[in-house]
């Protein structure tokens, strides 16, 4: 039977704080939804994340953030993607991001932000929808 392939995604956790329950949970949800998810683990630099995303040819990068440095880290990842000519890679994120910061992140180019408590279904549907709009390569 021929199933259409779902795009590959990268889930990573930049920043210095230690636990990755949230990141692993999202990775698990996406796996169960049929995505191939590349998991990079915790305490990754934006450079490591972007270089990995390019080598793995992923359609989207999901960042899990707890540290509060989200503006800087998202900004750096988006900037590196542009530098590498990979601005078509979608960036989404989640974690303890205050709702008031969400509009600013979206303006920067973050495609979606999931705050704690977002239902799994909504995460999958949003990502599915965003990726469906992308032109095929």
């Amino acid at each position: 039977m021929e199933k259409s392939l779902k795009p590959r995604l990268l889930i990573g956790k930049p920043g210095l704080d230690g636990h990755d329950r949230g990141a692993k949970y999202v990775a698990q949800i996406l796996r169960d939804a049929g995505f191939e998810v590349i998991y990079t683990g915790i305490r990754r630099s934006p450079e490591q994340i972007v270089d990995t995303a390019i080598q793995e040819d992923v359609a989207a990068i999901g960042l899990s953030l707890l540290s509060g440095a989200h503006n800087v880290l998202f900004g750096r990842v988006l900037e590196l993607l542009r530098e590498r000519g990979a601005e078509d890679v979608l960036v989404f994120g989640g974690g303890t991001i205050p709702p008031k910061d969400v509009p600013r992140l979206k303006e920067m180019g973050v495609a979606a932000v999931f705050t704690p408590g977002t239902p799994a279904r909504e995460i999958v549907e949003t990502i599915d929808g965003l990726l469906a709009q992308r032109p095929a390569v």
Binding site: A33, Y39, Q48
Partner: protein, 386 residues
């Protein structure tokens, strides 16, 4: 819009800032677009190739990724100008088709090293043609200049073993506390190994595992030699000998040498503690030595495999197209039900499927064609079985 493959190939090969991305795209074509695979594999024969493709396999959790990470670190330290590739395969969920690819976690220190290419692949069950796709990915790593490519697969399942067998050298990783070695023997892993690493040497039971493994390998070597004794007895033909100008011609001389000269020995066993980089230097030195000795032979062997490779790519594409037709709009299921109901025969359905797949259109099914011709062909089909 489809980027032309040629353009991707030349960008990947060019080495500029776009090279990494182009190479990564090309790898995706290899794994995701089986209809272009045959063309690509055929075209890839004059690409530069790695000198060594090293398969790493073994039980889950035995330390394959950690070993790969440390082997890469050692290779890079020995020669900073050398490019190294890693292909890491993790299983797909048979239920959802999704996969969590986590081998990378152990190798993140190489993420920003532009001389190291790492690619994670999902095994996608045995129908995905992964072995071919993975081979394609290795080719692309050769294209961008990787000297050595490490391929990690979990040593269970048909396709995983197949991938390992595409490597020039297969190393099987064992670790204490990973189920006993008899289980490995059952899984056919022992036969697949050219070399063995007993990992986690820092754990107390490692030495004992090494002893068990050595004993087992010695037994299987003896058995192999015993068997070979009969089979390889030179066949003497007592017919007339070929005569050349200088007397009788010895046909035996023209035989190619046996493929691997380390076949007759017991495979090497290395005791390592990969996580502590212990035993890695020795292991890598042995690999280097083996590669120097065998590289020319491996190149020749890969050339010989080219025909088989294309054959498999073509078969895979045929399978894909036919199953696509069988799938279409649930019509495929209707056809199968008609066989069950005795309205058509299996042969007839197969013929129809191949016709439709060949014409590339959604042709009328035998059900939709007029009933009389259908009855006629059915009768013909029955007659075949009579």
């Amino acid at each position: 819009m489809e980027r032309s493959l040629d353009q991707l190939v030349s960008e990947a090969r060019g080495g500029g800032p776009r090279s990494q991305r182009a190479a990564a795209r090309l790898m995706s074509v290899m794994t995701d677009q089986p209809h272009r695979l045959a063309e690509l594999l055929a075209g890839s024969r004059d690409w530069p190739q790695p000198r060594l493709v090293l398969g790493i396999t073994g039980a889950p959790g035995s330390g394959k990724s950690t070993l790969a990470d440390h082997v890469v670190a050692e290779l890079r330290a020995l020669d900073p100008r050398r490019k190294v590739g890693v292909v890491a395969v993790d299983p797909s969920s048979p239920f959802t088709g999704g996969a969590l690819l986590g081998d990378r976690v152990r190798m993140m220190r190489h993420a920003t090293d532009s001389m190291v290419y790492i690619r994670s692949l999902a095994s996608r069950g045995h129908l995905g043609g992964l072995a071919l796709g993975a081979k394609g990915v290795v080719r692309v790593m050769g294209l961008v200049g990787c000297d050595i490519v490490v391929v990690e697969t979990v040593g269970v399942g048909q396709s995983e073993v197949e991938i390992a067998q595409n490597a020039d050298v297969v190393v099987v990783v064992l670790a204490p506390g990973q189920g006993d070695s008899i289980q490995m023997l059952k899984a056919g892993l022992m036969e697949a190994g050219d070399l063995f690493v007993v990992n986690k040497a820092d754990k107390p039971d490692a030495a004992q595992l090494q002893q068990q493994l050595l004993a087992m390998l010695e037994r299987s070597r003896t058995a192999r030699l015993d068997l070979a004794h009969g089979a390889s007895e030179p066949l003497v033909c007592h017919g007339p000998q070929l005569q050349g100008p200088g007397g009788p011609i010895d046909i035996q001389q023209d035989r190619p040498p046996p493929p691997m000269d380390f076949d007759e020995e017991t495979p090497g066993v290395f005791l390592c503690s990969a996580a502590n980089h212990q035993g890695i230097k020795e292991f890598v030195a042995a690999l280097e030595e083996l590669t120097t000795r065998q590289a020319a032979l491996w190149q020749a062997r890969r050339q010989e495999q080219a025909v088989e490779e294309i054959r498999q790519a073509v078969l895979e594409e045929v399978r894909r197209r036919v199953s696509h037709v069988l799938q279409l709009n649930g019509n495929g299921e209707n056809q199968i039900r008609r066989i069950l109901a005795g309205e058509t025969t299996l042969n007839e359905l197969v013929d129809w499927l191949m016709d439709v797949a060949a014409s590339g259109t959604n042709a009328k099914s035998p059900a939709a064609s007029d009933a009389k011709s259908h009855l006629r062909t059915e009768a013909a089909g029955r007659a075949e079985f009579a």
